[in-house]
């Protein structure tokens, strides 16, 4: 069963009315082409300033009906879990209450369940296979702009499935952000802190990440979309063009994509494919590529990791694949994947730093070590990936044990102190504290992969005794972790 636009709006309104300490509903600044208000819902537990943010968008393509329902249902699942302290169970996947608590208490979850309400309404009242918004294209008999071609990343470059013809179902529109629905999403990105993003589509069981317009490469930074003309209504002119992506970012997309895949597979065995967007077919002007591209086009902007989900299998007919008679199981898979994305968006160092330090100096120091040193070698990036794998489960443990949390904060502070003075060395006491923490965390986890990762860390620590922080990092940069999941 599928909800109407009014029902989706009503659920958001009820949640914000009944549980205002969790839900805040805001009307986005622009009404849709047909004059409907588009809403965003913020979900968080506890107070405090703006946090790291995750934005989930559904209903971009009107006929992909199940995703707006999945997003609003996920909001309810997360809320109920936090309010009651209960686990979320989707088939064979159990999300512990402590995992959900960490997500709701450390992130701002921004949900736009239905960004294209006119299109959804048109599906339900006129044409179930409608894809675009309901723009009246002047001087043609054809309506609609494909909202997932209307964003400002190579907008109007007709590479693959993108068109400048108003009658096409992949019409990019008359200009980038010509549509109020896409401007609403830009508004959220411009005004809120969004670190992770997913545009939830159907179908094909895919987790997609940049790039969609060309194969990607990590060696030639001069090959950037910013050097290509947009609005050409022609394909990319350079034959064999390959778009640059920083190796660190590519690895992050791969790591998070595989975590999402695993979280979905654990539900009932559906194995999504995690790959660059071009794996589906070539596109330009898409939402998730735009989200990630913003910090490249304008280095003053925050980096946001943008994903596209393609939920549900191909069942042999497009109509049944887009709109299965019972989408329950597909929605359950998708919800588990969305939780995995949220979990991967939590940043342990930032969270501990915000809690224990008066300034951002310590966190900035460690971030610089990560991005300017570790990320420059393959071995260093493997260690970053290891850390990112374990930080969610580790934080869950730390949040339940104030003493351990204090120990972790002490180590972060000490690392930042060492980073600020290269004459200082890692002492026997430093190593002992770190080993004890890693061992305790390892003993407390039920996740075998996390335990092995922590054992790896513990083994590595012994060899760092007597080194400066930069010396320790240089050593880590040369030697990959032995265990490499995925």
């Amino acid at each position: 069963m599928y909800r109407t636009v009014a029902q989706l709006d009503s659920l958001g309104n009820l949640l914000a009315t009944w549980f205002p300490s969790y839900f805040t509903r805001i009307a986005l600044p622009e009404q849709s082409v047909e004059g409907r208000t588009v809403y965003a819902l913020r979900l968080r537990a506890g107070g405090g300033d703006e946090r790291r943010g995750v934005l989930l968008v559904g209903g971009t393509h009107a006929r992909e009906l199940m995703n707006p329902d999945a997003i609003i249902e996920l909001a309810v699942d997360l809320f109920v879990s936090h309010a009651n302290g209960t686990d979320i169970v989707y088939g064979g996947k159990r999300w512990a209450a402590s995992d959900i608590r960490l997500i709701l208490e450390s992130l701002d979850l921004w949900l736009v369940p239905c960004m294209n309400p006119d299109g959804r309404n048109h599906c339900m009242t006129t044409d179930a296979m409608w894809r675009k918004n309901r723009r009246d294209n002047p001087r043609t008999t054809c309506d609609g702009v494909d909202l997932n071609r209307n964003f400002a990343v190579l907008w109007g470059v007709t590479q693959g499935q993108t068109s400048c013809s108003p009658c096409s179902d992949v019409f990019a529109g008359p200009s980038a952000f010509s549509e109020p629905e896409t401007r609403n999403i830009k508004h959220l990105l411009d005004t809120r802190r969004i670190d992770c993003f997913a545009d939830v589509h159907s179908f094909s069981e895919l987790i997609l990440w940049p790039w969609g317009h060309a194969p990607s490469q990590t060696t030639d930074p001069s090959k950037r979309f910013t050097t290509l003309a947009d609005g050409t209504c022609a394909p990319i002119p350079q034959a064999g063009y390959q778009e640059y992506i920083a190796a660190r970012d590519r690895q992050r997309f791969e790591t998070v994509g595989l975590r999402i895949r695993d979280a979905i597979a654990a539900v009932r065995g559906r194995v999504y494919v995690s790959e660059p967007g071009i794996g589906l077919y070539a596109t330009t002007g898409t939402q998730s590529d735009y989200v990630y591209s913003r910090h490249i086009a304008d280095p003053a902007l925050r980096k946001t990791y943008g994903f596209t989900f393609e939920t549900g299998p191909s069942t042999g007919s497009a109509q049944d694949s887009f709109q299965p008679a019972d989408p329950t199981l597909v929605k359950r898979d998708a919800k588990s994947g969305m939780i995995a994305l949220m979990q991967q968006c939590v940043c342990a160092i930032e969270l501990i730093g915000a809690r224990f330090f008066d300034t951002d100096a310590e966190v900035d120091q460690l971030r610089a070590v990560r991005d300017e040193l570790l990320a420059t070698t393959e071995a260093g990036r493997r260690w970053i990936a290891l850390f990112e794998r374990v930080q969610g489960p580790v934080l869950t443990t730390l949040m339940g044990d104030e003493e351990l949390m204090t120990d972790a904060a002490g180590l972060i502070g000490r690392a930042a102190e060492l980073g600020g003075n290269q004459r200082k060395r890692l002492t026997e006491k430093d190593i002992g504290r770190a080993v004890r923490l890693a061992r305790t965390l390892s003993e407390r986890t039920e996740d075998a992969e996390v335990r092995l990762d922590l054992e790896e860390v513990e083994a590595k620590l012994g060899g760092l005794r007597g080194k400066s922080l930069s010396g320790a990092v240089e050593q880590i940069m040369r030697e990959k972790p032995r265990k490499m999941w995925h």
Partner: protein
């Protein structure tokens, strides 16, 4: 249903409810480049085998055949709204939420 150029006339449906065809496009005997299908601005949908699968009108179907492609039609559907039986009832939508949050104290008015 595999369509050849000589039998390309497909039923178009009525004016109010035109037919759409779900089809896969193949190179055909003239070995047309499938990459060029993108130039035809068709409504492409994912295909589990990586084929070029499209939703097309009768006119678009004819155009593909005229252009020398081989087209395999897998089904036809009339332009129509979503089956009303698949749309949740308003009362049911609210009842679902009430059941989900049952027992959690509401903060409204606080």
């Amino acid at each position: 249903m595999r369509m050849a150029r000589t039998s390309r006339k497909a039923p178009a449906g009525t004016d109010d409810h035109p037919l759409r065809f779900e089809a896969t496009v193949h190179a055909g005997p003239r070995a047309r480049a499938l990459a060029r299908v993108a130039d035809l601005d068709l409504d492409r949908v994912p295909d589990p085998r990586g084929d070029v699968r499209v939703l097309v009108s009768a006119d678009e179907l004819a155009r593909l055949l005229d252009d020398g492609y081989e087209v395999h039609v897998h089904g036809a559907l009339r332009q129509a709204p979503l089956d009303p039986g698949l749309v949740l009832d308003d009362d049911e939508a609210v009842r679902w939420l009430e059941e989900m949050v049952e027992g959690i104290p509401r903060e409204e008015g606080s």
